[in-house]
Each structure stands twice: as C-alpha cells, then as structure tokens.
C-alpha cells in the first residue's frame, strides 16, 4: 500500500550525496586539468595560483550560479504548479521571460553596457521589466476581481506577454544591433557567471524558501479546492496573488542571471513529487535540492560534450526535458481515464 511515510532525512541523505558529487565534478572538470586532489588542496586554502583562480574564480561561481538558478526555477515552478493546480505549468507561464527580453532590447537601444556592483545593468533592466510585468498583472487582476478565476490571470498574462513580444519584435526589426545582441543574450547560460550574480540571487532564494515553508500548510489545503481553502480561513484574493508574485520574482531573478532556461522549472517539481509526495514542506525542500543538483549537472554536460567549447544550456535541458514532458503528458492523460 502506498504511504507517505517517507521521513525527510532518509530522502535527504542520498540527495545531498549526489549534490556533493556534482559539486566536486563541477570543480574538477574543465579545460585546465585539475584532478580531485588539486580541488581538495584549493578548497583547503592551498594549491597553485592558476588552479586557485580557475577553481575559485571561474568554476565555483559558475556552479553556485547554476545551483541557485536551478533551485530558484524549481521552487518557482512548484509554486506556479500549486497555484494553478496544473502540473504542466512552468515559472515563465505569466510571460516573465518575454518581459525580460524586452528589457534587454530596451537596454541595448539605450546603449547600456556598464555594470553595477558586478552585475550588468542590462540584466538589471531585464529584471525590472519582469517585476513591472508581475505587479502589472496582479494589479489589473485585482482591479477586476479576476483573482477568483485563475484562467483570467493566465489569459491576462498571455495577452500581456504577447504584447511585450510584439514591442520587442518591433525593436528587433527596427535596429540591426538589437537583432544581433538579443540573439546572443538568449544564449547566456552560465558561461560568464560571477559571484555577484549569485549573491544577487541568494536573497530571493532564501526569502522565497522561507515564505513557502511558512505557508506550506496553506499550500497543502489550497491543493484540495478553492472552496475548502476559503472555508478554512485562507483569503484567496491575497494568497493567490502573493504566491504568484513570490514565484514570479524568483523566476525573474533567475532570468536575470542566466536568461530563460527551459524545462528545469517544469520537470524538477515532478521528480520531487515522485520522491517526496505532495506534502509541500517536504516537497519544497526536496525540489530545491533537486534543482540545485540538476542544473549544475546539465551545465557540466553543456561544457564538456564538445571539447573546449559550450553548447547553450537550453539545448541540454530541452533534450532531456522534452522527452520527460511528453512522458508526463501521456501519463496525466492516462490518469484521467
């Protein structure tokens, strides 16, 4: 008989072990040869200058950024899937990535190229656009009391993101520069990840995690139905937009760091569900850890498949994610019958 009696610590031990393996691999594999022994030396404060700068300044920030973005997307996806009670929803559902893309085009048009605290201003503008979009959607939805119907929010999000893409396409077709540069920006990934970006991401990740853990019980109840949630004192017209805003903020911060990365936010919560069940507290922790393991693993693949060069991370996540998505689709179809 199926039970949900999986103690969290028994789940976490193997997950943490795999995470540690990916961590060490990420630090030791690369063009410059640094065996595990060297990695340990460097981590304990020894080692030669070249290995130090490669491991500490190039590989470590890259791993950290990928782990942060992976867990952010996983958590953001989990929230979205919970709020829409739909397993096929991802963190970009409300058009965050198209807002970010428009932000990039605008930044290119304004000729912005400098950095602020080690983060490119271009990325900061992209992030601001996503945030404006989120609050715009929530604001409009509240004006018309749309929050009762989640379909209305979705339609609103889709309509607005189409509008943003249209403006973006206009800019792209208007100037050659934007065409070339925005194409490159979409390939960003973790190629140039630095520690400032990771530090920018951490507050969103931590705040989001704390918020979810405090609201885990509410999310559990919300899963049953709007009516039950309401009858148990959950104010849906506050809970739903707040959750959406939290998810969208986390997703927007992740887009700022690595561009939009497909499928991670969609399928990580599913793997989490297979491991931890539906209970939100356990599921959140497991999903977070999975995201922090999977994306660095994919990133490792993206920079080792071809010697000395990188494949855009989206190609890797999509190649692995798409078949999973199809499997999921058929499974949920079958489950309905």
């Amino acid at each position: 008989m199926e039970t949900t009696n999986n103690k969290l610590k028994f789940l976490l031990i193997p997950l943490i072990f795999i995470f540690a393996v990916i961590f060490l691999l990420s630090l030791s594999v690369g063009d410059i040869n640094t065996p595990l022994k060297t990695v340990f030396k460097v981590l304990t404060g020894n080692g030669d200058a070249l290995s130090r700068s490669v491991i500490i300044q190039i590989r470590l920030p890259r791993f950290l950024a990928a782990a942060a973005v992976g867990s952010m997307l996983a958590i953001a996806g989990l929230i979205m899937q919970t709020i829409f009670r739909n397993p096929l929803v991802d963190p970009y559902f409300l058009g965050i990535s198209s807002a970010a893309e428009l932000g990039i085009s605008v930044a290119i048009m304004l000729g912005v190229s400098s950095t602020l605290f080690g983060i490119s201003i271009m990325s900061i503008i992209a992030f601001s656009f996503s945030v404006i979009l989120i609050f715009g959607i929530v604001k409009i939805a509240r004006l018309k009391n749309f929050l009762e119907s989640k379909i209305a929010i979705v339609l609103l999000g889709i309509a607005i993101s189409y509008m943003l893409s249209a403006v973006n396409n206009f800019l792209i077709f208007y100037k050659k520069d934007i065409f070339i540069k925005s194409t490159f920006w979409a390939l960003k990934g973790f190629n140039t990840a630095n520690i400032s970006e990771f530090l920018f991401a951490v507050p969103f990740l931590v705040a989001g995690l704390i918020y979810i853990l405090f609201n885990a019980k509410k999310m559990n109840i919300y899963l049953s139905s709007d009516l039950t949630a309401h009858s148990l004192g959950i104010n849906l017209s506050k809970f739903v937009p707040l959750m959406l805003a939290v998810s969208a903020l986390i997703a927007a911060a992740s887009v700022m760091i690595a561009g939009s990365i497909s499928f991670i936010g969609l399928f990580t919560p599913h793997i989490g569900r297979l491991i931890a069940g539906e209970e939100r507290k356990k599921l959140t922790i497991v999903t977070l850890l999975l995201g922090a393991t999977l994306l660095p693993a994919f990133d490792l693949i993206s920079r080792t498949v071809l010697p000395s060069q990188e494949i855009p991370i989206n190609i890797i996540t999509a190649l692995i994610g798409a078949p999973f998505f199809i499997y999921l689709f058929f499974r949920s179809k079958n489950a309905q019958h």
Binding site: T4, S225, E279
Partner: protein
Amino acid sequence: MHSINIKGLCFSYGKNNVLNNLDLEIKENGVYCLIGKNGSGKTTLLKILIKFLPHKNGSISINEKDLTLFTLKEISQTIGFLESEMPNIPLSIEEIISWGNFPFEKADRQIQDVVNELHLENMKDKNFLSLSTGERKRVLLGRIFAQSPDIVLIDEPFNFLDPKYKIEVSLLLKKLGEKSIVFIATHDIEAVQFVSEKVFVLSNGKIQLEDTPEKVIKSSFINKAFDIPKSLRKKFEQFYHIDANS
C-alpha cells in the same frame, strides 16, 4: 447556545434568481437537513453562509452576530464546512485531519483525540487516495471533529456511500450534533429520516416547509419539492415506504 438566523435572503447568478426572500432559523444543537431537488440552491445557501458567495439582500446572523461582521478567520473558527466533492490529493490522513487546527494556529490540538475517537489509529500515516470512498468521508469528518466548530455545514454527505458507511457517517453526524448545529444539504431521503430532527424543504428559492422528517415525507408537498410527476407518485411512495394514509 448556537444559532443560525436567516431573514429575507435573496441571491441570483446574473438574472437567474436562486434564493428569493428565504427565511430560516435554527436555535438548538442537532442535525438539520436541507432537502430540495437538484439546482434548488442548497449548495448556494451553504456557500453564502461561509461568505464564499456574497449576499446582498437580507440578513444572516450566526450565534446572534451579523455574518457581515465576521472576518474570514472567525468564520473558519465558527463554521466547519465540507463540500460535496472530495479532494483528490495524495496526502497523509494525519495531514488532512490536522487541517481542522489550521484556523486556530495550534499544531496537534486534539488530533490524537480525534484519531482515537474515529478509530483511525492504524491508518493515520496512510495516503488519503489509497482509502475507499467511505473511509475518505470518515477522515474528512475527522477534520471537522478536530475543528470542533459551533456550526457544521456539509454538502451531500451521503453521496457514493455504501450502506455501512452511510450508517457510520450518520452516527458521526449525530455525534457532531450533540455539540454543534449540523446543517446538511442532501436529497438522500432515507438518511434524512435516520439522522435529522428537523427538515427544511427548499423550493423556488424559499423554505416552503419545515417539520420532522416523518411529517415532511408524508406531506403532499414533497412531491412538488422534488418535481415528481403524478405517474411516478405511487412508485415514489413504495420506494421510500411512505404510508400515505396514516
């Protein structure tokens, strides 16, 4: 003592009037049934009582306090509500029962008592979806026990239950009725006779009749309330063992 008092309640979905100047009063603990044909507005009335739907005309008071003065939290502490559809989520039974504590923000309050009371000890870690329909209903009622509210509103508690669980659920409802007002929307006339002290018949947006179950069922109005055509009346009486002459 607990009470529900509704006066002149109107409600409509767009132009479709569902409740029309409805009056209803319950002053004592016990199990009360609201019967009426499909679409007569039973569920609507329950949703209005937990403020899931807004009411514009008429007044409602719960425990002699106007419903509009209740915050959402106070409602969840005063009223326990079970909708007719059962949740379809693979959570543990203990988790679902613990939802009864959610409005009070105290963990583990009474959960063990409820588990003992409903004899759920050996299955509290089980997955809700692995249970049979009757067991699921029992667990959901367990959540209401944990909540132990003044008013219990239940929509269609007997749907899809086999005779054993129908009796079991009825007994649990009676137990709840000792401490609270249990107000049930149903059209299960057999169970109504077994479980309730008083029946309200909802028809054309109004309470058309309120009486003991025996009297309501024997009244000629029941045919009207359930829209039973003349040709089927004999069969209806046979089906529910109604002796029309007595």
